[in-house]
């Protein structure tokens, strides 16, 4: 009897506690992939988010922002469930969500059913999210997967002299978008993509994939992330693979470069492109790296922030700055906040960011090469900086729309 009473009290206090705290607070729901294949990415995303809060503070006028974090596992279902939980149970007014590509597409579609709320994309990078039928209350301050590959194809063709490549990627929208950006530029320059392999997200055994890699190519492009990337590299090394590698934005990233074991050494000399470069000299970037390093003890963070940390940092910063511009005014279905978010220009650590008419970021992209810092830690070194990359990758919008949406086979390997 006593036990059941105690249980009841615990349960009811849990249910009532939500109502007791409602003062002058702005509630923001945050989702990150804290489960599954992309767990390390989600955790570093949250570190970036925390760094932004440390730098900017939580105060907006006389109000305070309260952030509530929910966990997902990179599947669209889990993202919609988490977002609904945040809105309905925690009564958040603004969402900072989600992390992964397909989650982004699902949350964008969900955003349309709640037009009164504001959704700030945290880090997801599928093209479709903001390019096809965008939601008016969904804002994305990071570039999409294709924008993050700008410069890589030309660099591989012109400087490295690669003519024929094959790709291995995870079978979902973000990696399609990445390969889309790569193929468009590499084939446009005259290169050939002979083979595109797709593996399900969360693949553990890459033996058949590695066996099927063609021998007559100059390089192999890897569009993998998180645990998948580490598993692939381990098995690739054990199989004695020696090909030149090229990497996608979450492949050549601190989430992989600082993984334990030798597998990552296969990446030395790999060229890649991303929305950031670990060793960029820019003062703003260095300041951000310092803030990130100071915020967490060395064993609880990466040597340098990952792309996810940067994206979460930027989206959190955009939201806090916009809230301050309107002095926390969320009346009239948050109209003022939405206007401010659409107009804001971020002086982000990885270059200036502004939004286009689809509320999609136009930003700076980096072509990088993986180097050893002499102490065994790997970093990405800048070889080229490309400013003002827009979602149509510099193509005329009419031409761009003819290419089609990124998928397993789109775009074809030709000059558009």
């Amino acid at each position: 009897m006593f036990r059941s009473c105690a249980g009841l009290i615990a349960l009811s206090s849990l249910l009532l506690s939500g109502a007791a705290l409602a003062q002058e607070k702005i509630k923001v729901g945050v989702t990150a992939t804290l489960e599954g294949t992309y767990t390390v990415l989600g955790e570093d995303g949250i570190r970036g988010h925390q760094t932004a809060i440390n730098t900017l503070g939580k105060k907006v006028g006389d109000k305070e922002i309260e952030f509530i974090i929910a966990s997902t596992d990179a599947t669209p279902d889990s993202a919609v469930r988490a977002v609904r939980k945040l809105i309905e149970q925690d009564k958040v007014q603004i969402l900072l969500s989600p992390l992964s590509g397909d989650e982004g597409i699902a949350v964008k579609n969900f955003a349309k059913t709640r037009p009164e709320l504001t959704f700030v994309n945290a880090a997801s990078g599928a093209q479709e999210t903001t390019y096809v039928d965008p939601a008016p209350n969904f804002f994305r301050y990071n570039m999409d997967g294709a924008q993050w590959q700008v410069g890589l194809g030309k660099y591989a063709y012109d400087t490295k002299g690669y003519r024929k490549i094959a790709t291995v990627g995870e079978d979902y929208s973000f990696i399609y978008t990445q390969v889309f950006g790569l193929v468009l530029e590499f084939c446009g320059a005259g290169g050939q993509v002979t083979n595109r392999q797709w593996v399900p997200l969360g693949t553990k055994d890459f033996a058949s994939v590695i066996a099927a890699l063609p021998d007559d190519v100059d390089a192999i492009y890897l569009g993998l992330g998180g645990a998948d990337a580490v598993n692939f590299l381990n098995q690739y090394q054990q199989a004695g693979g020696k090909a030149h590698l090229m990497g996608g934005s979450i492949m050549v990233d601190q989430t992989i470069l600082s993984a334990k074991g030798n597998a990552k050494n296969a990446l030395l000399g790999t060229i890649a492109a991303s929305g950031q470069a670990d060793t960029w000299e820019d003062a703003g970037w260095q300041k951000f790296v310092k803030a990130y390093q100071d915020a967490f003890p060395p064993n609880k963070r990466f040597p340098s922030p990952s792309l996810l940390a940067t994206n979460y940092y930027n989206s959190t910063m955009a939201l806090i700055l916009a809230l301050r511009q309107v002095n926390g005014d969320l009346s009239n279905n948050q109209a003022k906040l939405k206007e401010a978010l659409a107009k804001i220009e971020l002086d982000a650590p990885n270059g200036k960011i502004k939004l286009d008419s689809n509320r999609q970021a136009i930003g700076t992209n980096f072509v990088t090469e993986v180097v050893d810092d002499g102490k065994g830690a790997l970093f990405s070194k800048v070889v080229k900086v490309i400013p003002n990359v827009n979602q149509t990758l510099g193509y005329d919008p009419a031409v761009f729309s003819k290419i089609g949406l990124p998928s397993r086979t789109v775009p074809e390997c030709k000059k558009y």
Binding site: D77, E88, A106, N109, T113, S407
Partner: protein, 360 residues
């Protein structure tokens, strides 16, 4: 004949009422009426979040788990593909109905798409069942798990019909008589209605000749075969019936989230249904609903509870696992078993336990 019929109402009304009470002993207990009334007036007690995320979700998961309970409890067949059948129905609603993905969806109105989905999912479940009945025990578990896993990987990689890892988004939900049936209160009543329908259907079938024969097949297939029953036909029919119930749950689920993708039919989710059924107890149809309620409560609040206690919120799965472990450890037949043991202890009456309401 006509005379007899004419005399029928007067003479046998009390007898009929008594027969009805015998057939539906639940109606004789005040606790059952209390639960029914609470469920009916729930929208006046609970707000949107509790109504949909807790109670409607409980009813939906409970309905899917009920189909497993029917197979396992009355048929002795543990099928791990019940969620797959539900997911198949959900996908079919998306494929035949309307969604944001116009390349896939055929755009049929809901009243055409939903029956189509139910029929196809029932056929799918029956075919899977026809495969599974050739096996027994652990092999049934294996083959149904294989069907579930195969379906998951198929949806993950098939783009023309299932939309790959992205799945299908913004699925249209029914709107008629001027009501948006997906808004909180109508949707709650829809799920309650469907769950109640399935509950009573299972209850009824378990006492009908077919259900009794099925329980006979569970207890001694050889003897039933010797008595002239077609054992396999009974089992396949049980799969068909269970598939229809699971399909109803699947349709509700896709209306609830308005989105379906492979994560919803993953192997983990299939196992969740088994956990729900086992935790609730597979001896009675009410078990899966109790199990679903515990599951949903744990899944929703474990993270918050850990954070409140000052622990690392990332470990919330551990708490869920420990909760289930505790229940299964102290009662091998789930919460229902605990309840029955407690009642038996209180009344000190030796009642025969076990499956099938003591009928079977």
């Amino acid at each position: 004949m006509s005379l007899l019929q004419g005399a029928h109402p007067q003479t046998s009304q009390p007898a009929e009422a008594r027969a009805a009470l015998l057939a539906w002993p639940e109606f004789n207990k005040p606790a059952v009426w209390l639960v029914a009334v609470i469920l009916l007036i729930m929208p006046f007690i609970a707000n949107g979040f509790f109504l949909i995320e807790i109670f409607a979700t409980t009813l939906i998961l409970g309905t899917v788990a009920l189909s497993l309970m029917f197979l396992a409890g009355y048929g002795g067949m543990v099928s791990l593909m019940q969620l797959t059948v539900a997911g198949f129905a959900a996908y079919m609603v998306a494929v035949f109905g309307m969604s944001a993905n116009t390349n896939i969806s055929l755009g049929w109105p809901w009243w055409l798409a939903t029956p189509m989905a139910l029929i196809l999912a029932t056929v799918f479940g029956t075919l899977g069942g026809a495969l599974a009945v050739r096996t027994e025990g652990i092999y049934t578990i294996m083959i149904t798990l294989a069907i579930g896993a195969a379906f998951y990987y198929f949806t993950n990689q098939n783009w023309p019909i299932f939309g790959g890892h992205t799945g299908i988004n913004t699925i249209a939900t029914p709107r008629f008589w001027g009501i948006d049936w997906r808004s909180d209160i109508p949707f709650y009543y829809v799920t309650l209605g469907v769950a109640a329908f399935c509950y009573f259907a299972v209850q009824y079938v378990s006492r009908a000749p077919f259900g009794l024969a099925l329980q006979g097949v569970r207890d001694n297939p050889r003897r039933m075969a010797a008595l002239g029953f077609n054992v396999n036909a009974h089992r396949v029919a049980a799969y068909a019936f269970a598939a229809f119930i699971a399909a109803l749950g699947g349709v509700l689920q896709v209306w609830n989230y308005r989105q379906i993708s492979p994560g919803s039919v993953s192997v983990g989710a299939c196992i969740d249904i088994l956990i729900i059924a086992v935790v609730g107890g597979i001896t009675r149809p009410i078990g899966p609903f109790i199990g679903a309620f515990i599951f949903v409560i744990l899944r929703t609040f474990a993270l918050d509870l850990l954070v409140k206690l000052g622990l690392d919120g990332n470990r919330f799965r551990l708490l869920i696992g420990l909760g289930f472990l505790a229940i299964v450890f102290w009662s091998s037949d789930g919460v229902i078993g605990l309840w029955e043991r407690w009642r038996r202890g209180a009344a000190a009456v030796d009642k025969r336990a076990g499956g099938g309401h003591g009928h079977g």
